[in-house]
């Protein structure tokens, strides 16, 4: 075992020193670069470091190993700290682990935990807590659907399938502050996975004392920058600063209130009334009004997500008809779609994987053509596939009931009508019904879909179109694609691995089981006094980096 990874410890203490130097008289740190606070620039801190944040629909659970939605993980990220953390710009930085070493074959990670890390009750955070948490995450009894995050760890899949006991998981506490994780295969994006809540540690004594109620206020012992103080379902969750957090001196906020609001208009109203400092999202229908009246507070930034329409390739008319699929994809004018129909900064997509770390996004070959050229090619392919004015394609689009999806479906249908003469019928369904229909692959021909990456790596997208993937609603099955993905999983060299995944995306785009439409953007309203907010591609924020400016 040789050390291939630079130890982060020195780097971090340097950053901390820089930050401290920048702070002067009781200032705040803005993450990557130190922010001058308290100087004549007017960036003074407010007396009350309290923020009120909109947080989308009500969370399912605060249990880090059982949650599956973004809303819950927004809060878990404040309550817990994984081995690896993220800077405001999304870069990976040491978290509960001060540093780590990776073996030459990339299969063994050794994490050196901070000796001064404490749980919110003062207990030291040890390697055993991580072992306990990781085993629980893989345990089928935990009833989590996100255990696949742990897949790279040795025996994880066998444990989740109930074939091995959780104690067989490839994790080991060498001593109180050294954790060893053994992987089944080298996984270049493994460190990124360690920011996921599935890998958070768990305080064993409080879990054993309270059982499933361990997540309640008063019971919950956590190791993050904040502790849970109050929870009223459908009303709010209040967290307060954790005095035992190892970096508590650099945490500015004393209280954060999270408010659930399913209704985005209601969230906007509360923001305008001054009850919220930050919104989870904005109602798209009000986009023009918002950019006109709250323009300076509207923050739009790239988000690791891809919006597409899929073809059901298991049934006619799209089975065995790559030409027809290509024709439909080319006939879509993505400029009109993103600029005129959506118009909230979405970026037109000609490929599947959005911009992610260490990867060059692939585009379909026609991406560089003009739209007129694409449409001419679309007509040619449409005719070649055997369709004409007299014998037009008759097909259906299924989408889940939502104003935006409806507008996009209508736009696509009219573009296909105009360019190709295709007759398209639209069907909308309520979300859960739609999920069923789409997954059954019986009624669907063309369906709406979208995917937000679970981690900042191309694989989080690539795996969706694997023939065995549960989310492969297109029913796409390409041995070549599966082979490239499998090869990428055991490839150690990052450049070669990226090349394999890029090759896989080219295969996918040549077969075209999907129509890539646009890459997502995150949209938030942020009050001018919220400091420390920085956009990042994962749209994930650690509120320990935030502060309130005087206003």
């Amino acid at each position: 075992m040789t050390r291939t990874n630079a130890r982060f410890g020195g780097l971090l203490s340097l950053a901390a020193m820089l930050a401290l130097a920048g702070c002067g008289g009781g200032g705040a740190e803005g993450g990557g670069a130190a922010v001058q606070v308290g100087g004549p620039s007017g960036t003074e801190l407010a007396e009350h470091q309290v923020l009120h944040l909109g947080n989308g629909s009500e969370i399912q659970t605060l249990d880090p190993h059982r949650g599956e939605e973004l809303q819950g993980s927004n809060i878990q990220r404040d309550l817990y700290e994984g081995l690896v953390n993220e800077a405001p710009n999304g870069e990976l930085v040491p978290g509960a682990a001060e540093s780590w070493d990776v073996s030459a074959d990339g299969k063994r990670y050794t994490f050196h935990l901070r000796e001064n890390a404490r749980w919110s009750n003062g207990d030291p955070v040890t390697a055993h807590d991580f072992v306990f948490g990781l085993r629980r995450g893989a345990d089928p009894k935990t009833l989590t659907i996100y255990s696949f995050i742990l897949t790279p760890i040795k025996n994880a899949d066998e444990i989740t399938a109930g074939k091995l006991p959780p104690t067989e998981l490839g994790v080991r506490a060498v001593d109180d502050h050294t954790l060893e994780i053994e992987l089944a295969n080298a996984t270049p994006y493994f460190l990124g996975l360690l920011t996921h809540s599935m890998t958070y540690p768990l305080h064993q004594p409080s879990y054993e004392q309270h059982g499933d109620l361990f997540v309640r206020p008063g019971n919950l012992v956590s190791n993050g920058a904040f502790v849970l103080e109050e929870q009223v379902v459908q009303s709010h969750i209040k967290v307060v600063r954790n005095p035992h957090y190892w970096d508590a001196d650099n945490v500015r906020l004393t209280e954060i209130w999270f408010y659930p609001t399913e209704d985005l208009s209601a969230e906007l109203q509360r923001y305008r009334a001054g009850e919220l400092d930050y919104t989870y999202d904005i109602p798209t229908a009000r986009f023009d009004w918002i950019s006109e009246n709250l323009g300076s507070e509207l923050k739009i930034s790239p988000w690791v997500g891809s919006y597409y329409f899929g073809f059901n390739v298991t049934r006619p008319p799209f089975k065995d008809s790559p030409k027809l699929r290509r024709a439909l994809s080319l006939a879509v004018d993505r400029e009109i779609l993103t600029k005129d129909v959506l118009g909230a900064g979405e970026r037109a997509a000609f490929g599947w994987v959005p911009p992610v770390r260490n990867y060059t996004g692939q585009n379909m070959v026609e991406a560089s053509w003009t739209q007129a050229e694409r449409e001419a090619e679309a007509k040619r392919l449409y005719a070649e596939a055997g369709y004409s004015e007299k014998n037009p394609l008759r097909t259906t689009i299924y989408y889940n009931t939502n104003e935006d999806h409806r507008r996009i479906s209508v736009t696509l249908a009219s573009m296909w009508k105009e360019t190709l003469g295709a007759e398209v019928e639209l069907f909308n369904q309520e979300w859960k019904v739609f999920l069923d229909t789409r997954n059954e692959k019986i009624d669907t021909q063309i369906f709406r879909s979208g995917w937000i990456g679970d981690y900042n790596d191309a694989f989080s997208f690539a795996e969706l179109f694997r023939s065995t993937a549960g989310q492969n609603d297109a029913g796409y099955a390409s041995p070549e694609y599966d082979r490239l993905l499998a090869a990428s999983q055991s490839e150690l060299d990052p450049a070669k691995r990226a090349a394999l995944l890029e090759e896989a995306e080219r295969v996918l785009l040549a077969d075209m089981p999907l129509i890539p439409l646009y890459y997502y953007v995150s949209q938030h309203l942020v009050k001018p006094w919220v400091g420390g907010w920085e956009p990042n591609i994962m749209d994930r924020y650690h509120h320990k980096d935030w502060y309130v400016l005087k206003h």
């Binding site: 629909s57 009500e58 399912q60 659970t61 605060l62 249990d63 059982r66 599956e68 089928p140 009894k141 009833l143 989590t144 659907i145 996100y146 255990s147 696949f148 989740t160 399938a161 109930g162 499933d212 109620l213 997540v215 309640r216 009223v232 379902v233 459908q234 009303s235 709010h236 408010y259 659930p260 609001t261 399913e262 209704d263 208009s265 209601a266 109203q269 509360r270 305008r272 009334a273 001054g274 009850e275 309520e430 979300w431 859960k432 019904v433 739609f434 999920l435 069923d436 229909t437 997954n439 995917w451 549960g470 989310q471």
Partner: protein, 307 residues
């Protein structure tokens, strides 16, 4: 009276059982299930999930299990809000909805009846036309339009009242949702009171009372009000139902953590136990309220006697 009450209570049991059975089957018939999500669970995990929530058992067994739980006031665990049981959610949500709905009905009664009486006394006068015009508007504007308007004016522009949430249980937070919820009821109640009051005022016993030289307020309060309130009382049952359904919308708009919101999110998430819990709870509530209304009837109208 006692025998009547007992009979009513016994009669409520089959009603409730039918309600539970129908709701139990209907929610399971709805396409899509509680564990459907964009990220499909592996077959093993899905089987574990179904077993953990007893969804793998035959339907009659699930139903029996559910009824057994109900007898112990146990509504089961929520599928969606995994950290809480349905009983806990209802216990937390109901007081909020009760405060909201109860205040709204009380306000509606006071304002609606007063306005109705006033209009009846000044029949075809300016006051009458004014009250009726306002109430017509109140009936015509649905609360999902009225509520955001109220927020826009009083929370965003004037900044007098909060736009949503419960705050720390402060009264200020209740004002807008209560008004939004009460307005349509005020409108309806004032029309109802006006109509029946006009009729009562024309009846013989009122004329006799007047002939005896009683002052108008005494005629109204002592003699006319009670019979005039009969239709109002019989409307209270449906009014409660309206307020409950209205609160589903209002709680959403004002982000109030009441039962109505659980009903909507529960249905959308296919949270079987939560939806069932709210249905059963509301079922019992409405049956009880209808019973109380009937008892109040006997008290108000000497012609009504229950045996």
């Amino acid at each position: 009276m006692l025998r009547y009450s007992l009979r009513r209570l016994l009669g409520a049991i089959p009603t409730l059982l039918i309600l539970i059975a129908v709701a139990f089957v209907m929610i399971r018939l709805a396409p899509g299930g509680p564990f459907d999500s964009e990220r499909q669970p592996s077959p093993e995990i899905e089987a574990n999930l179904r077993a953990a929530y007893h969804l793998d058992e035959p339907l009659y067994q699930q139903f029996g299990r559910y009824l057994g739980g109900l007898l112990r006031f146990d509504f089961g665990p929520s599928f969606q809000y995994q950290d809480y049981s349905v009983t806990e959610l209802i216990t937390a949500g109901f007081p909020v909805s009760l405060t909201l709905g109860g205040t709204a009905i009380l306000v509606a009664l006071l304002v609606g009846v007063a306005a109705g009486c006033l209009a009846a006394l000044r029949q075809n006068g300016a006051v009458d036309h004014g009250v009726m015009a306002v109430s017509m508007t109140g009936i015509s504007i649905p609360n999902f339009v009225m509520a955001p308007l109220l927020v826009l004016v009083f929370a965003i522009h004037l900044r007098w009242l909060p736009a949503g949430g419960l705050g720390q249980g402060s009264l200020r937070n209740l004002v807008l949702p209560v008004i939004a919820l009460a307005l349509p009821q005020i409108a309806y109640l004032s029309r109802l009171t006006r109509g029946s009051m006009i009729e009562v005022l024309r009846s013989n016993f009122v004329r006799t009372a007047r002939a005896q030289g009683l002052p108008t307020w005494k005629v109204i309060v002592k003699h006319a009000l009670k019979p005039a309130l009969l239709p109002v009382v019989s409307y209270l049952g449906p009014a409660t139902a309206h307020v409950i359904t209205g609160s589903v919308v209002i709680e959403q708009i004002f982000s109030v953590p009441g039962l109505g919101r659980f009903f909507v999110t529960g249905a959308l998430n296919r949270d079987y136990t939560l939806v069932m819990g709210v249905v059963v709870f509301y079922g019992v509530l409405i049956i009880t309220l209808n019973f109380l209304v009937d008892l109040a009837y006997a008290w108000l109208d000497p012609k009504v006697k229950y045996r």
